[in-house]
Symmetry: D2
Subunit: 308 residues, 4 copies
Amino acid sequence: MTASPDYQAILETIAAKVRPLAAQGRVADYIPELAKVPADKFAMAVHTLDGRRFAVGDADERFSIQSISKLFTLLMALRMKKETLWQRVGREPSGNPFNSLVQLEHEQGIPRNPFINAGALVITDVLCRHFVQADRAVLEFLRRLSGATDLNFDSAVAESEAEHGYRNAAMANFIKSFGNLDSPVDTVLQSYFRQCAVRMSCQELATAGLLLANHGTVPASGEALLTPSEAKRINAILLTCGTYDAAGDFAFRVGLPAKSGVGGGILAILPGELAVAVWSPALDENGNSLAGAMALEHFTTLTGRSVF
Amino acid sequence: MTASPDYQAILETIAAKVRPLAAQGRVADYIPELAKVPADKFAMAVHTLDGRRFAVGDADERFSIQSISKLFTLLMALRMKKETLWQRVGREPSGNPFNSLVQLEHEQGIPRNPFINAGALVITDVLCRHFVQADRAVLEFLRRLSGATDLNFDSAVAESEAEHGYRNAAMANFIKSFGNLDSPVDTVLQSYFRQCAVRMSCQELATAGLLLANHGTVPASGEALLTPSEAKRINAILLTCGTYDAAGDFAFRVGLPAKSGVGGGILAILPGELAVAVWSPALDENGNSLAGAMALEHFTTLTGRSVF
Amino acid sequence: MTASPDYQAILETIAAKVRPLAAQGRVADYIPELAKVPADKFAMAVHTLDGRRFAVGDADERFSIQSISKLFTLLMALRMKKETLWQRVGREPSGNPFNSLVQLEHEQGIPRNPFINAGALVITDVLCRHFVQADRAVLEFLRRLSGATDLNFDSAVAESEAEHGYRNAAMANFIKSFGNLDSPVDTVLQSYFRQCAVRMSCQELATAGLLLANHGTVPASGEALLTPSEAKRINAILLTCGTYDAAGDFAFRVGLPAKSGVGGGILAILPGELAVAVWSPALDENGNSLAGAMALEHFTTLTGRSVF
Amino acid sequence: MTASPDYQAILETIAAKVRPLAAQGRVADYIPELAKVPADKFAMAVHTLDGRRFAVGDADERFSIQSISKLFTLLMALRMKKETLWQRVGREPSGNPFNSLVQLEHEQGIPRNPFINAGALVITDVLCRHFVQADRAVLEFLRRLSGATDLNFDSAVAESEAEHGYRNAAMANFIKSFGNLDSPVDTVLQSYFRQCAVRMSCQELATAGLLLANHGTVPASGEALLTPSEAKRINAILLTCGTYDAAGDFAFRVGLPAKSGVGGGILAILPGELAVAVWSPALDENGNSLAGAMALEHFTTLTGRSVF
């Protein structure tokens, strides 16, 4: 590992380029609480393994991490279950929208990967069996990784999701019908909706992501939460499955393992070097932050750094 | 780039470990010519950007590259068409077996990526419009990249494929019905079957693959055939789509961009460092070389090197 | 209408032929209550429009009508909604198992027909909006049509279905996610499970079916519940969709509009002449009564009567 | 069988009602020869078993029967193969457009029924194995049934179909890949395209259809080509599968076994009574004659006759 370059100028260049793009996207509006977020918010933060931090825009403002939580719940479940986890969820890209039930039917209740909603529900079920309050456990884990002890759920978002979450309820019941859910459907759904409703800033996400850049060890504490092999494998799943049905295109354009959420956040990893978080609430047709994805594309182009 | 380590001992360790696994796989037998290849053949070759070559087993024996040819035809087509190529073929993992027609119907004749058969037929069509004899052009390109001027087609294999190639014929006609094939169906199929029937050794494949390890420039000649950005993007497609419906699992286990073929070969790339080719004819249920994939998994584990 | 023949001898011939077939089928066992029914039960009843009744076997013993209820809830919903009903449910055969979610996804929450579970849930929702207690209304309707004022639900069956009904819950939530369910998911499911758990005998079912043989008018009372055109149309849907994914085969072999249930009952109609109900609990692989379908095939062969 | 009513007035009423509807449909234009037919053509002919004939419009003008030929090739194949035919083709409605390959893949090359294109190709293959010139044999059969000894192919239509028939070629190759086609793909396709290109008038079709109204016996000659049971079964398949993906709706609205073609013809059967043919070239979105289907709907409504 050589010393990391000064990314500040690059972040500012990127911010100037991509901010206008938000106007071409569309803020998630399937629940009112998400629709309220101003479309012109933008933030980007880079944290390196040698301890430097760079940021631009509203990088300390928290937003709803939504599906980015799936990355952290996967980490938790993998630590408990090790390789046996893969008996209950696959690790192949889905080739279908993230909330499709079709594939689940063909594959008899084994979700294709942990980052589609069906897979995340199975992962949540793993946590629900292990913790009395799985949602609290996830929150504690995120506080620990980010160092932000005041992270919390947005209860209004969680409740709104629960009220409109018929498709997730369909999915959970469907998985249960195949015998791949141990806890009661409602228990799993409530935990899932609350995990998705955690609010974090780009700075906090970038810090939390360093674990994966650092081969499984939290840089701040030296704790080895994952083996290097496990960290490598999670990065692989991020790359092939982390950005919904656009993972191929995202790998093509950006070339970094990443997880996106409909709150407009994306967390990406450059193994051995850094974690980078970006936030812009307006989404493209695949549900990924439009300006956020473009910001990451510029980042790998301008720095010449990607996994490829 | 630091000096590459001495991979010879590692290759020998791997060979000893994985040779016995071939007994658990199954040599492709859908055409008699492929079925004749002894299941116990094994070879592995590593060529580094700093000019070192390591090999174990039958690394100079040629075998049918089959779908590995799809990587090189993609390179050729991308050089001609640049970004416009992606109007005719996607770059998303398919989530379906490599010769499925289902997805093609849903997506109106635009194959999901250039590495499923449907996509490779469209790529071949691009070559057929540009070259009087596309198959010869592909052969010349492979000779040039590998430095082996006597590379050739195995005509018996090509003819046998043509005789049994009803599913490929179905696919080509289907794509044509959507207007995404310019040349006559038979022209495209004949060229496709011949490209797949080129015979190369692991040593030759590893040399040919260096181009992609070297960001688009042939190390031997200094020729920049692709821009660094194009090379990065092809590596991304290899990682997400290069190993049929098992790309997610392959990325998870191996963590290298790679392209496999039913002849039992796999060519993998470690960007910035090396290309590695492996050959073992017995396949797993996804059509990838069983011992070959395991050899690559050991390679990244033992060297601690992967893109993640 | 000429005087109906004496069907008694025919029913006895049929009973002798088909009773042994039950051994080749399998009693529904997805809930314990249904699994308890002895596989060797058999009954058949023919009621003609000129007032004659023929029966063989346990024709006065009640069994769980299950999906045969879907015919009667359709009648009720059609009477209320007339042609507007078809905006919420189609009338095409499904080409898929009766509880598939795949088609529902492709068709955006509009079930293919009222006799697959998804369609019956939408029909139940129609009833739930109209009646304070839809299940009681269905029960009253069945009592009125059959003349059996003591018909009732089997609460143990209904509760058992509710406890194991994850797939139906998945379906109801999925339909709700497309906006095609007005009442709360649980309200619709509870009513649906109770309607399916009504117990009726072959004699009672045959009487209830006469309405459809008699072009919409209840013979006993002279009440015109449906227009002749509506009755004809329901017969058409029965023929094309009434026996799960085997409707084509059933039409081919039997040639009568019919509705089957997993309790082993089948109600069939010969328009202008008669209704025939059969019961044998052991099912074929499509979920239709094995001996029951064969009994109806013999019936149309021996009498030379079918709609074709 | 009572004496048939005088249908002439009814046909004239129908013609007046439905002729204007043709403006809402669309003449098939996927090959130029079909697109040339004037959209305002209309004809309807009713032939009864007691020897009466009624007609309105251009009932002696021939048109391309297209998929109506599938009914007659099925008759021929069923006579040869009897029940063994159903090992190679199913008899279930497809739930998918008539030229879909998706279902064929799921069902491993066994088409769902003989009236989707895939099924008709398998039926044609049966004929190709039995006759040196299957297309001539079909033509002779149609001449014999219709009594019109000068029936012929429209070679321009057949050749045009062959030139544009990529989807049928895809299907035939696909079926061949599953081993469900004995003859060479091109042989089957050529015969298929020629059979579809036979030209017949409504009068000729109605006469040919009497066989199925008359339980398998040609009324004019007394020849029993099918057993009553076979005739009944073919009527059943017509009802459940004869009008593409709209068979349910057609049964609902019309209530007669029928086969349609993209040339705008429909042949329908009222078993025991009559055959009725209608022609209007403008099609609805399912590929059925728009005014033709409406004419048959009026026919069953005005006469009060249908199979239900």
